[in-house]
């Protein structure tokens, strides 16, 4: 079971889609039930992964590996290789969760062409999961592109008035980014062959040779190659100024599509950065100006996205631009290249999935009742829909990074991780962090202003007087998100621990193993001296980078103890 768990998770939605093919399309309720059952099944089969992964969280390398390099298309060395580490584990769990929620939320929202809708949605689910699981670059690329199609159709068929424009823009824009990546992949493939004499797309093999491109071909070529990946991921994230497909796609997409788009699809870009750009091009990032520009774009995205969303008149567009801002934090954290910022970035990606996913659901609920998303159409919704207003408030707070909710943990880690870095592309870390921090203020501004305009005040529009509050089904879609939001906010330690191994591996691949060693023995220095040690697992029994088995590295236990002052 453990050997094939990833395949099972990956293909459960697909099985659902194929199963739906044989259900007559007139029988809408049956279709809905079946789709929901499979979506839930997709979530349920992924749950065993949680305890299993938890046990292995400190083990090096990828877990639950499946397949072997070159077993899919031997003649070119492409394989069906799946495997996950902490980063992809979290993203997979997010995907299965949001997948289920989105499908659940579509129950009444989708009334025409129900069968197709669910089929494409389940297809999409498989495509997204594949992206996070693939350890073969080729397989990754296939999933990466393949999942564009269902998303395109979801926007194009069930979207709003400008759906065609949005759908085509989405498809073309993202495809334009990724085709260059294909060339980049091929370059790595040949480079690997030139170095080792072996043709392969296996990620772990490419990790070994790709960093040599910088010395083999020179900085210029390496930078170009970096850019070929960068554009693909930056468009997907989307980073400023490649973001304009996002508002259109979000505004036009059906609610569930938006949830998935914001919750999962955007994470593919950041995931790509972490999984590929960082380990492949360490020298490009640590030398040269590329990092400066990437960081600059991130900062611009943070502030610019927030400013633009401040002025939106359409709720969904507002949330869409807020995504640009939030994802700016994520990329900032990634390219700060510190373990802390990177952990924070991944966590923030999860957070963004949860809170922005919820925000889109929230907008969708109003839309379903009133069929408009104009902010000016609303006002005083608190009076008629109190439960809804409460949930919205919590999710808004989570999105703006209020402590004890999830958003804060991610943003704080990103900012601190960025801040502590002495030199990021010629500037100290605090320079970058200081630029990013206004984003936090602006987030409060645009969200609270939105809240004020929609929920506060008397009910001005008579059409809003009869709105009914959330149904149990709708509440059910929020409950898991709320639980997750509070969990991450209150007790994020498990997440940090899950991320520890992959993050440190990634960082040491970029900055060399010495970078981490510098801080390996630090913790004892700031351990509390006297009080209340009973709740904490101390460093002494698990020092250093944890490795499994007999190779456990013993940390120097006799770290200097700081005497308690005060």
């Amino acid at each position: 079971m453990q050997n094939h768990i990833l395949s099972i998770i990956l293909f459960t939605p697909l099985v659902g889609a194929l199963f739906l093919l044989f259900v007559p399309k007139e029988n809408k309720d049956a279709i809905r039930w079946i789709a929901n059952v499979f979506a839930l099944a997709g979530l349920l089969v992924s749950l065993p992964l949680v305890p299993w992964f938890w046990d292995k969280r400190f083990e090096p390398g990828f877990k639950f590996m499946e397949g072997a390099p070159g077993n899919w298309i031997p003649s070119i060395g492409a394989g069906y290789v799946l495997g996950i580490d902490g980063i992809s584990f979290l993203l997979i769990m997010l995907t299965t969760l949001l997948g289920w929620i989105s499908i659940l939320s579509s129950w009444t929202a989708i009334e025409n062409r129900v069968k197709e809708y669910y089929i494409w949605f389940l297809f999409l689910q498989t495509g997204m999961l594949g992206v996070f699981m693939a350890l073969d670059f080729f397989l990754f690329f296939v999933f990466w592109e393949a999942m564009l199609v269902p998303m395109y159709l979801l926007i194009g068929i069930w979207g709003g008035p400008r759906k065609l424009y949005a759908a085509i823009k989405f498809f073309l824009y993202t495809l334009a980014g990724s085709v260059l990546m294909l060339l980049g992949i091929l370059f790595l493939y040949f480079h690997h062959h030139a170095v080792t004499g072996v043709y392969t797309f296996a990620l772990e093999r490419l990790y070994e040779t790709a960093p040599r491109i910088y010395s083999d071909y020179g900085p210029y070529a390496a930078t170009l190659l970096f850019l070929s990946f960068f554009f693909a991921f930056a468009i997907k994230v989307p980073m400023f100024p490649f973001h304009t497909w996002l508002p259109d796609a979000h505004v036009e997409a059906p609610t569930a599509g938006s949830v998935i788009l914001a919750g999962v699809l955007l994470k593919m870009g950041t995931y790509g950065f972490i999984r590929f750009s960082l380990p492949f091009f360490p020298d490009v990032l640590t030398h040269g100006r590329v990092r400066f520009w990437v960081m600059t774009l991130s900062v611009i995205a943070i502030i610019y996205g927030a400013l633009v969303s401040l002025m939106q008149k359409d709720m969904k567009k507002l949330v869409a631009y807020s995504s640009v801002s939030h994802l700016g934090f994520c990329t900032l954290g990634i390219f700060a290249l510190t373990p802390l910022a990177l952990s924070g970035s991944v966590l923030q990606q999860i957070n963004h999935g949860i809170s922005t996913g919820a925000l889109f659901l929230i907008v969708g609920i109003l839309y379903e009742r009133r069929h408009t998303r104009e902010i000016s159409e609303y006002g005083g919704i608190s009076n008629v829909m109190p439960i809804y207003a409460t949930i919205t408030m919590i999710m808004f707070l989570s999105s703006m990074g209020l402590p004890l909710l999830n958003g804060f943990v991610g943003e704080f880690s990103i900012l601190q991780g960025t801040f502590m870095e002495k030199d990021i592309a010629g500037h100290p870390g605090y320079f970058w962090a200081a630029w990013a921090v206004p984003g936090v203020v602006l987030a409060a501004a645009y969200l609270l202003w939105l809240y004020q305009r929609v929920f506060f005040g008397p009910v001005t529009n008579p059409k809003n007087e009869k709105l009914h509050d959330l149904t149990p089904r709708e509440v059910a879609t929020f409950v898991p998100l709320l639980i997750m939001a509070f969990w991450i906010g209150l007790y994020p330690k498990p997440f940090f621990q899950i991320l520890q191994q992959p993050v440190e591996k990634t960082i040491s691949m970029v900055r060399g193993p010495d970078y981490l060693k510098a801080g390996a023995t630090v913790n004892a220095a700031v351990k509390p001296a006297e009080t209340a040690p009973q709740f904490r697992v101390t460093l002494d029994d698990r020092g250093g980078i944890p490795t499994h088995g007999a190779k456990l590295v013993k940390a120097p236990v006799a770290a200097p103890k700081k005497k308690g002052t005060n």
């Binding site: 298309i73 031997p74 060395g77 296939v142 759908a167 091929l186 043709y199």
Partner: protein, 513 residues
């Protein structure tokens, strides 16, 4: 040794061609006795011809060409006094032609009934043109290649004009004929010059003489003129810009089934001939024709993609798309020959042709199926709401379109993949970038078709589209092939490797964890 110096082996090796010719003649004969309502027998006959021809190459029960070749180490066997060479390359193309023909025949049955042009000649001409194509693919002597070309061309002229009462069909045929004959003339002129320069009509000898004598002599300019005229003929047949203009007209005017047939089989034959002549005969002149091809391929991709954007006729749109695909394939040829003869690029072309056969035929099959009663069905608007009228076909059409656009994991992706692979491996990064750029570009007009099918306004009647059994078979075959090749391309890649004599799995990682 037979009377003409042919051995029994020679007859064995040309058996597929012979069988096709015989079946063609047979169809013409029995057509006389078949009552009009049972003309489908002709199609069955034609399919039998294809099947027999295929079986002559390989069948499980008795030795065919393959077995023979295997015994001789697969290195290729000259036949008919060195006029042709039956090698794996030829066999690959033969099978390709036969597959395309079989599917085209399946597409034709109901279509011809609808058009009331259900004559035996149609199938006979098809088989004859396939015979011509086979000569082109296997030709070693330029005389045979030329004859094959003309056999194919003349047959297709007629096929394009087969809807006698349709003015568009007449016109397409006339244009195709005039331009085709014109290009044949230019082509033949080039060939005659080559003969004059080298004293031989055999490609291998021509290559040797060019390399050893002609290019070093004062006749070099003549050789260049010969090359240019020859290449003009070749590029005409594959419809590369600026020799492409016949294609949109002919594609639009021809019966849809023939459009499909032409766009894959005729094009593949053109490619087979082009590869044979350029790589076997004119390789010594490589430095001269590679820059030319670079220009042509860029012009082709650019022109065709731009032109396709504004088309409102599906067939015409696909015509331009097929021209654009020629541009990509030319990139493969450039990659394969630019610095040294590398199999990668050629492999790309062969795979491209393979996947293109299925996806393009599939697309045309769907368009053909739109022809019913009073609807011509080749305008973009005719596809509107296809999903509600024929969901399976619509989804498969989507698959074909995405495949044409090169979205993985569909077959079309592999064609592009190997082309770009060869470009990257030979260092043509700029061309590769251009190629991928245009492939995104292409997506736009393919999506126009998808948009019409899935998001277009549903017709008022919304009635189910009547689709015949054979048509369903054709669509299903191509659809399955497109998906199958897309998902599990390995055996097909190996097939192409085999066809080109490339070692399988060179140094591919087969490592386990």
């Amino acid at each position: 040794m037979g009377t003409l110096g042919f051995s029994a082996t020679d007859y064995l090796l040309v058996l597929p061609i012979t069988l096709l010719t015989l079946f063609a003649l047979g169809i013409l004969l029995i057509d006389l006795w078949i009552p009009p309502e049972e003309k489908w027998v002709n199609a069955v006959m034609a399919l039998c011809g294809v099947a027999f021809s295929a079986a002559a190459i390989w069948n499980p029960f008795r030795p065919g060409i393959l077995v023979y070749l295997e015994a001789h180490g697969f290195s290729g066997r000259p036949a008919m006094l060195n006029a042709m060479v039956v090698d794996r390359f030829a066999i690959y193309f033969w099978y390709l032609f036969l597959a395309a023909t079989a599917i085209a025949i399946l597409m034709s049955v109901r279509y011809l009934e609808t058009e009331h042009e259900n004559h035996g000649e149609y199938y006979a001409l098809m088989l004859l043109s396939v015979a011509g194509m086979m000569c082109m693919a296997a030709g070693l002597d330029i005389v045979l290649i030329f004859i094959g070309l003309e056999l194919m061309a003349i047959s297709t002229y007629v096929l394009v004009g087969f809807l006698r009462r349709d003015r568009r069909s007449n016109e397409a045929a006339l244009k195709y004929l005039l331009l085709g004959a014109f290009s044949s003339g230019i082509f033949a002129y080039g060939l005659s010059l080559f003969y004059g320069l080298t004293g031989s009509t055999n490609l291998a000898v021509i290559a040797r003489e060019l390399a050893n004598n002609v290019l070093k002599s004062e006749y070099r300019p003549v050789a260049i003129v010969a090359l240019l005229t020859t290449i003009t003929g070749l590029l005409f047949k594959i419809a590369a810009i600026p020799f492409h203009q016949w294609a949109p007209d002919a594609y639009e005017g021809a019966p849809t089934s023939i459009t499909g047939f032409m766009s894959v089989a005729v094009k593949a034959a053109g490619w087979a001939m082009l590869l044979r002549i350029l790589i076997l005969g004119l390789l010594p002149m490589r430095p001269i024709w590679v820059p030319l091809l670079v220009f042509v391929s860029i012009a082709t991709m650019t022109g065709a993609n731009f032109a396709a954007l504004t088309q409102t006729n599906t067939k015409r749109l696909l015509a331009y798309s097929s021209i654009a695909h020629v541009g990509y394939m030319l990139l493969g040829l450039i990659a394969g020959t630019a610095t040294q003869l590398s199999p990668d690029g050629i492999k790309g072309i062969l795979i491209y042709l393979l996947v293109y056969t299925f996806m393009n035929l599939g697309a045309f099959a769907v368009i053909t199926s739109l022809r019913h009663r009073n609807v011509i069905g080749d305008e973009l608007d005719d596809l509107n709401g296809l999903y509600s009228r024929a969901p399976v076909e619509a989804v498969l059409m989507l698959v074909f379109m995405l495949s044409l656009a090169g979205i993985p994991p569909l077959a079309g992706f592999w064609g592009k993949y190997f082309i770009f692979l060869s470009l990257v491996s030979s260092g043509h990064y700029a061309l590769a970038s251009l190629g991928v750029f245009y492939s995104v570009f292409g997506l736009y007009y393919y999506l126009k078709i998808a948009n019409a099918m899935f998001m277009g306004k549903v017709e008022k009647d919304g009635e189910k589209l009547p689709i015949g059994l054979t048509m369903r078979a054709a669509i299903a075959l191509t659809g399955i092939a497109t998906l199958y090749i897309g998902l599990l391309p390995n055996s097909f890649i190996e097939l192409v490797n085999w066809a080109l004599g490339i070692a399988q799995n060179p140094n591919v990682a087969r490592l386990t964890h």
